[in-house]
């Protein structure tokens, strides 16, 4: 044992063993991440979920069928009739290109998987990638142990599962991987100062821009971190290499994505990065000048630079402000504005506020989505300060900003989840490290010499410290001074940890019983987390939402497959060119599953168009008929849950239709539909409510089912029970009445129009003229 070569061999063997072990652990984590997301396939079926994934699926089908060039030039005339939508230029193509490429590779290997299958399993595959990326990122921050823990946590964090179960084919599925991987490459560049990684970083950022609108988070967070490093005196050439090429290459690449285009340089979301780009150059220049000048000359130069720099800064600021002020929303898109000011959307843009995933989350949803991680995060933050490196300051910044954003929009909980996992991974790993080491020191019989101990300790933290140490050595002493100054300013936070680290080096040993007990508690905590995650994956987040199931009292499973029943009916029993009007929620599904043209869909780009449909739904029958007829609509689809108690039906969404409709067409007034501020559909409801199209289409002949017309969602008897439809006729109602499809009756013959009905006659003629004009429309 004393032989140094032998000891060397032992340590290499240990390293090799450790590497192989972590490789297999990572492999298992990947398998775990993939398989925990398969509950939806096992419990339900291999099918695309919800709303947006259907659009992505349809785009992928188009891509695989027609190729990439047709995809870029795709003008979709089956949606937003009669406007249409330029898909190639308005979609984030990352997800579809990824799945399309996967499909293409598989098919060129003669593995005949359908596009649907590939789409269904894209999200689980990428969540495995995401957990590996988490490992890499956390390893860069705090060593391999923390990396493995964080990867395992991320593999099953409910928040991420909710967006990436098999079938949930949405942008976030690949974007979270891209986000973490971009951060990893940034940290990697920061730690190594390698231009190679900087280039990779720009490419990863490009992939992220392709994938998700959330890329603005990266392009704001990284500059923030760079600024933080500069302010805290941590500027180094590595920081410059990590940032400058990233901004230049990243912005150029981002501008290549059609949906971003010149936004990459023209909207306010990106200005922070340019500002920091200028600042880092100024700082770099200052450091350079400082290096070549004597201190005296330097002072003079500083004076000069400050005066010139101020002038330049003022000019740049003026230009920026002018640019920002010239754009109507002050350069910010509505969604981003609602991020900065959480009340913005509900005040100005009902269409953004109406989306359920844009609502602020509630406290229980934090517990539901990140569970025990919420308690581990503070510990992780503390661990990041022991010692504070460039990398750990980045993750601290990441968690702080993402906590803020998640508080604004429930959807952004997804961005918080990786940060929480990283922090908790660090916390757990550090805690285990401390406890196991104190146990080890107090069980001398079990382990031999201290030599082995030090080697053992090096396995996780010391590796990182070594890295950090190397880094520190390369830094020049002049740079360390200001950092110490800053540290002294923040005595409370930093001094304690720095003291602690000193004590730690002299072996901070906890009592044996306490350590064992604490480890047991931590294991229990982890077990609780696992149980919760599996439950969330199996019960809460695996329902595809187009198929509903309920358990009958005798244990049987009852399936509500009404949506697909209606879509299948539409696709087989209506004309190919028929237009179907429904609330925008069902637009994507109608185009994808029923293959019929819709008026509005989930890509809510045209508020007026949506308001038109909302107005039609809130108008009395005749007015609604005229609106729909002018839009060439042949069928109207409503979702009705009153018979089986399906709560997210159109009656419950109806106030949004009124609000959005009223926002553009002021004759629709929300108070008309409310009785004393309450939304009700029973006998107390207002006549406007009881006569509007949505009420009529939902409750048409509903009373005949049970004789009373008892609505199981609103738990009340409906207000107006017996009525006839004059301008619409029921053509299809699904088995559980969840989807009802009505056809617009053809306009009546003019012979019946007597002189007294002149008014209505003229209005119908104008509308027929209009529809005639529509038919000559090239988009028809």
């Amino acid at each position: 044992m004393a032989d140094p070569e032998n000891a060397m061999g032992a340590t290499t063997l240990r390293y090799a063993f450790g590497n192989v072990l972590s490789f297999f652990i990572l492999l298992l984590i990947g398998v775990l991440a993939f398989s925990i997301r398969l509950f939806s396939v096992i419990k339900y079926e291999s099918v695309i979920h919800e709303f947006d994934p259907y659009f992505n699926y349809r785009v992928t089908q188009f891509l695989t069928k027609n190729g990439i060039y047709d995809f870029w030039n795709w003008f979709d005339d089956r949606t937003w009739y009669p406007l249409g939508r330029v898909i190639g230029g308005t979609v984030y193509p990352g997800l579809t290109l990824t799945a399309g490429t996967l499909w293409w590779i598989l098919n060129s290997l003669n593995v005949p998987l359908s596009v649907e299958t590939v789409c269904v399993f894209t999200a689980p595959i990428f969540s495995a990638f995401a957990s590996w990326a988490t490992y890499l990122l956390t390893k860069e921050v705090k060593g391999a142990g923390a990396g493995l823990t964080a990867a395992a946590l991320l593999a099953m964090v409910p928040s991420y599962i909710s967006r990436s179960v098999a079938g949930s084919y949405d942008n976030e599925a690949v974007a979270i991987f891209a986000l973490i991987f971009t951060f990893y490459l940034y940290i990697k560049t920061l730690n190594t100062g390698s231009l190679f990684y900087a280039t990779l970083n720009a490419l990863a950022y490009f992939y992220m821009v392709c994938s998700w609108g959330g890329y603005t988070f990266i392009i704001n967070l990284i500059p923030m971190h760079v600024l933080l490093c500069i302010v805290t005196g941590r500027y180094s050439s590595r920081l410059y290499i990590a940032y400058a090429p990233f901004v230049v290459l990243g912005t150029l690449l981002a501008a290549l994505v059609p949906v971003v285009g010149f936004n990459a340089v023209m909207t306010s979301e990106h200005f922070a990065s340019f500002l920091v780009f200028i600042i880092i150059h100024v700082v770099a220049f200052v450091y350079y000048i400082k290096g070549i000048l004597s201190p005296k000359m330097f002072k003079v130069a500083v004076m000069l630079v400050i005066s010139v720099g101020l002038a330049v800064c003022c000019a740049v600021m003026a230009i920026l402000i002018a640019l920002v002020a010239s754009s109507p929303t002050k350069g910010w898109s509505g969604r981003s504005l609602s991020l900065l000011d959480p009340t913005y959307a509900s005040k100005y843009i009902p269409i953004i506020a109406s989306v359920s995933e844009h609502q602020p989350p509630t406290w229980p949803s934090y517990f539901m989505d990140i569970n025990v991680l919420a308690f581990l995060v503070p510990a992780g933050i503390i661990a990041c300060f022991l010692p504070l490196s460039d990398a750990s300051s980045f993750v601290v910044l990441y968690i702080v900003t993402s906590v803020y954003f998640s508080g604004v929009m429930v959807r952004l909980m997804l961005v918080l989840a990786p940060a929480a996992c990283i922090m908790s991974g660090i916390a757990l790993s550090e805690a285990f490290h401390v406890f196991t080491r104190s146990i080890k020191f107090q069980l001398p019989g079990l382990l031999g010499s201290s030599q082995v101990d030090s080697g053992d300790a090096s396995s996780s933290t010391v590796v990182a410290q070594n890295d950090a140490g190397k880094v520190e050595k390369t830094e020049d002493t002049a740079k360390e001074r200001p950092s110490k100054k800053n540290k002294k300013k923040e005595k409370e936070i930093v001094d304690k940890p720095s003291l602690k680290t000193k004590i730690e080096k002299r072996l901070l040993v906890l009592p044996l019983e306490a350590s064992i007990f604490a480890i047991l508690l931590l294991v229990l905590l982890g077990a609780f987390y696992v149980v919760h995650c599996v439950w969330a994956a199996a019960e809460a987040y695996s329902a595809p939402s187009i198929v509903l199931t309920s358990h009958s009292p005798d244990g049987g499973l009852h399936v509500f497959d009404d949506f697909r029943e209606a879509y299948a009916w539409l696709s087989h029993n209506t004309e190919v060119d028929d237009k179907v009007a429904s609330w925008w929620d069902y637009g994507y599904q109608t185009t994808a599953m029923a293959n019929r043209t819709v008026i509005v869909d989930n890509n809510t780009w045209n508020n007026t168009h949506i308001a038109t449909v909302g107005t039609a739904m809130s108008s009395p029958e005749k007015a609604a008929w005229e609106i729909f007829n002018s839009l060439d609509v042949k069928y109207v689809l409503v979702v009705f849950g009153g018979l089986v108690g399906y709560p997210s039906d159109d009656i419950n969404k109806f106030l949004w239709m009124v609000r959005i409709g009223g926002g553009v067409f002021p004759h629709i007034k929300e108070p008309d539909y409310l009785r004393d501020g309450h939304y009700r559909i029973d006998s107390q409801a207002t006549p406007t409510m009881l006569n509007c199209l949505m009420y009529k289409l939902s409750y048409y002949r509903f009373v005949e089912t049970d004789g009373k017309g008892f609505d199981r969602v609103r738990r009340t008897e409906i207000g107006k029970k017996h009525f006839k439809l004059t301008h619409f006729e029921e053509v299809f109602t699904t088995h559980h009445w969840m989807v009802r499809i009505y056809k617009l009756k053809p306009p009546k013959n003019r012979i019946r129009g007597k002189a007294k009905k002149l008014k209505s006659k003229t209005s119908t003629t104008t509308s027929t003229k209009r529809s005639g004009a529509n038919k000559r429309n090239p988009w028809h």
Partner: protein, 482 residues
């Protein structure tokens, strides 16, 4: 072996189509008038002593059982008997089968006879013929009894053509009261069986009478050749008019022990078109009055020992199906996503696996052959076009099919899991099928067992080279300077 071929009838249909609207009757009468003058019919050496025809109209597939007692009145022995069909029927003719009754009354056995379509040079007004080859020539003065079954599809015309949800479905059936035949018929009777006693109207050709669900035309005595007397029966038929417009069955043979069948259906209700409102409340609360002609269940009869059955369409699984298996057969009861009313369509896919040893055998000459059922497994449906694709394993050679009726054949190549040279696909196509076509057919091919190992070996070597590459990469130092 008998062959049905409907394609040659096209020219004659054309003449029928040229006739003005409602010309069927006039045309038929003109045939009658014309033919009664035509005394120079070809071989008048055969006459039919007694003909009995039973037309079964209970489903949408019309089955006609014809019993003919023929006598050779000529001098030369007769080897063939002709069956004549009007051109309008020939298009819809799915099956013509004939069998001869031999033996005494008690021990009567039936021997199937060969039936072939044929052309005669002087066929009056586009009459189409089928020729029945007798087993032994009928000598002068002898009699023989023939049983003929022919099946017609798309022969019930809904009238009114559009009905609302609450109305029953009424259909027309066109035929002739007198059997069209090139021979003199001494005595004949036609029985028409309707599904219910609700018959709106029927043409009377005396003597005609109706007893509940049965209409009797005849007996008619001594009718000359090519006699024709058009009749129309207008009656209620609410049976499901389920027609598979197109079915593609893919049978994939894997020598690892599985036979995978995938069937793509395009189903349509060919009854009276649904008009106006579909009200779910009526459909659910008054099932006996509302939508009586619609259907929502279908029964597929699958082979026994079927496993991993799925039933889905292009947008996912269809949850409404039940599978009952026993050791003789499997029954899959499926519901389309929505009830099918007249004119409504649905598409779906049924897939299942079967144990290979039940269907793949080795013939005496060393070839392997697949013995599988032709036709569509759905009960009581007619099929407009059926395509069977038999995907043979990669590396198999010399495919040949033995089908008990004429089909179109061609070869394709399909690339499936990790194929390099592709699998040979034998494609069999046939139009206008009825459940009577569900008879076994065989596909013979040669296959070398060693090809089974090709794909596993490929994977093994791919992984091997991958690991070798990894090992090599780890041991190569690519840095430019130390």
């Amino acid at each position: 072996m008998h062959i049905v071929r409907g394609s040659t009838a096209r020219h004659h249909t054309h003449t029928a189509m040229e006739a003005p609207l409602g010309a069927r009757l006039t045309l038929a009468l003109s045939i009658f008038a014309f033919l009664s003058l035509l005394t120079t019919a070809f071989s008048q050496q055969i006459q039919i002593l007694n003909a009995e025809r039973r037309v079964d109209l209970t489903s949408h597939i019309v089955r006609v059982f014809l019993t003919l007692k023929v006598e050779n009145t000529g001098t030369a022995p007769a080897t063939e008997i002709l069956l004549a069909f009007p051109p309008t029927q020939v298009d819809h003719l799915a099956v013509v089968k004939a069998q001869a009754a031999t033996g005494k009354r008690k021990k009567q056995t039936y021997v199937p006879l060969d039936v072939k379509p044929t052309e005669l040079p002087d066929a009056p007004n586009g009459t189409k013929y089928f020729i029945i080859s007798l087993l032994s020539p009928l000598n002068s003065g002898e009699t023989a009894t023939l049983e003929v079954l022919y099946i017609l599809t798309h022969s019930l015309e809904p009238f009114p053509a559009e009905i609302s949800q609450s109305e029953p479905q009424l259909v027309y059936y066109h035929d002739s009261a007198i059997i069209l035949s090139p021979y003199h018929i001494k005595q004949q009777t036609t029985f028409i069986k309707t599904p219910t006693a609700k018959v709106e109207s029927f043409t009377r050709v005396e003597p005609t009478n109706r007893v509940s669900t049965e209409l009797k035309y005849g007996p008619y005595e001594d009718r000359p050749p090519y006699s024709f007397s058009p009749i129309i029966v207008h009656f209620e038929n609410n049976n499901p008019f389920a027609v598979v417009e197109e079915i593609v069955r893919e049978v994939e043979i894997s020598h690892w022990g599985n036979l995978q069948i995938t069937e793509h259906y395009k189903l349509v209700h060919t009854g009276a078109r649904h008009k106006g409102v579909f009200s779910r409340v009526d459909y659910q609360s008054r099932p006996s009055f509302s939508g009586v002609s619609s259907f929502k269940h279908l029964l597929a009869r699958l082979p026994p020992r079927v496993h991993s059955v799925y039933y889905r369409d292009e947008i996912g699984n269809i949850s409404s199906s039940h599978l009952r298996t026993d050791n003789r057969k499997s029954e899959l009861e499926i519901e389309p996503r929505y009830p099918l009313f007249g004119g409504w369509k649905a598409t779906f896919v049924i897939g299942y696996g079967l144990p290979l040893q039940d269907f793949l055998f080795e013939s005496s000459d060393g070839k392997r052959y697949l013995n599988f059922s032709f036709g569509c497994p759905l009960a009581e449906t007619s099929v407009d076009k059926l395509t069977i694709k038999v995907v043979l394993p990669e590396g198999s050679k010399d495919p040949s099919a033995v089908v008990p009726f004429s089909v179109e054949q061609r070869l394709e190549t399909k690339y499936s899991y990790l194929d390099v040279v592709g699998r040979t696909v034998l494609v069999l196509e046939k139009k206008n099928l009825v459940p009577e076509h569900n008879s076994p057919f065989q596909v013979y091919y040669t296959f070398n067992q060693i090809f089974m190992l090709a794909e596993p070996l490929m994977l093994v070597s791919a992984f091997f080279f991958f690991f070798v590459a990894c090992v090599a990469y780890l041991h190569i130092d690519l840095s430019i300077r130390k």
